[in-house]
């Protein structure tokens, strides 16, 4: 019997692959959410203790 054929290695492999897939999916999801938020025009700047015209709501002249 090969030393790496023990059942514990299979379990560890499944855990490593699973965690890898979950983390990869999370990165992709955050990327996708960012793209959607940017393209939908969500405010990109928060209040920073000073007035900025870019923070005013857009108005039609």
């Amino acid at each position: 019997m090969r030393p790496d054929s023990h059942e514990i290695y299979a379990r560890r492999r499944s855990r490593n692959v699973g965690v890898g897939v979950v983390l990869g999916s999370l990165v992709f999801l955050i990327f996708a959410v960012t793209i959607v938020k940017l393209t939908e025009g969500h405010p990109m700047e928060g209040f920073d203790h000073t007035f900025r015209a870019t923070m005013l709501p857009a108005t039609e002249d």
Partner: protein, 315 residues
Amino acid sequence: MTDATWIKQPPADAGFGDYVELLKPRVMRLVIFTAFVGLVCAPVGVHPVLGLAAIVCIAVGAGASGALNMWWDRDIDAIMKRTAARPIPSGRVGRDEALAIGLVLSGFSVVFLALVANLASAALLAFTIFFYAVIYSVWLKRATPNNIVIGGAAGAFPPMIGWAVATGGVSVESVLMFAVIFLWTPPHFWALALFRNEDYARAGVPMLPVTAGPRVTRNQIFGYALVLAPVAVAPAFTPVGGVVFFIGAVYLNARFVFGAWRLWRRDEAVAVADGWRDEKKFFGYSILYLFLLFGLFLVEAGLRLVGLGGWPAPF
């Protein structure tokens, strides 16, 4: 028993499936489905990617509360046949590991939901996790036979959270969705408790059949089914309902009440003789009932998309 048996074994290396099991995937399925229904039926549209991310957050939050529940209940889980094979009592996942997973995923899901959707839905999710892990698991479950009645609120929040993701608030429709699951939970779990009575008694969990006996439990199941029926039909008269929902809900609730009535008519001698056939049947139907009832919300939402749905105009 050998000397080796006395040595406390450290938890074995957990496989990925053990961690998934820690998050109670079966409960998660119901949470995902009902949250999705709340999200889709809301009058405000959500971008599919944001909707997916929100559902993931709600599912992970539900899973986190499941992990915290398993961490707290590890002693009684080891005693009950139904739960003895769970990851902690079986030694596949360490208790500290389960606690860490529960806490980290709770924090992650709430913060991420606030960023993806809004503060209202994130606050509701945080409250749901707190309610399930602390109010239900730590406080009520071992203290009162009404544990399921009050604790059922935790399972009833997901459609409200889904609705809040889209609208940023709470409304009559989402409160009715909450009420349906809230009133459905006691008869659902008490039917299970009737044929798992010995398990709960051995673990010292004061489920209604243990503290008040099966007769009272059967009365309560029937009573709750009667109260649930009008509440479950009521959404038909809100903007998320319509004729199809009304007809479907009436049929599903008639069957639910009929099933509860059959349990009410039976006694323990008959139940033991046929191996709790009707109780098991009612428990199985109660799961199908909830899926189909919430499926009706989706049908109405689909019909509205193509210009149908709702109630026909009087003229």
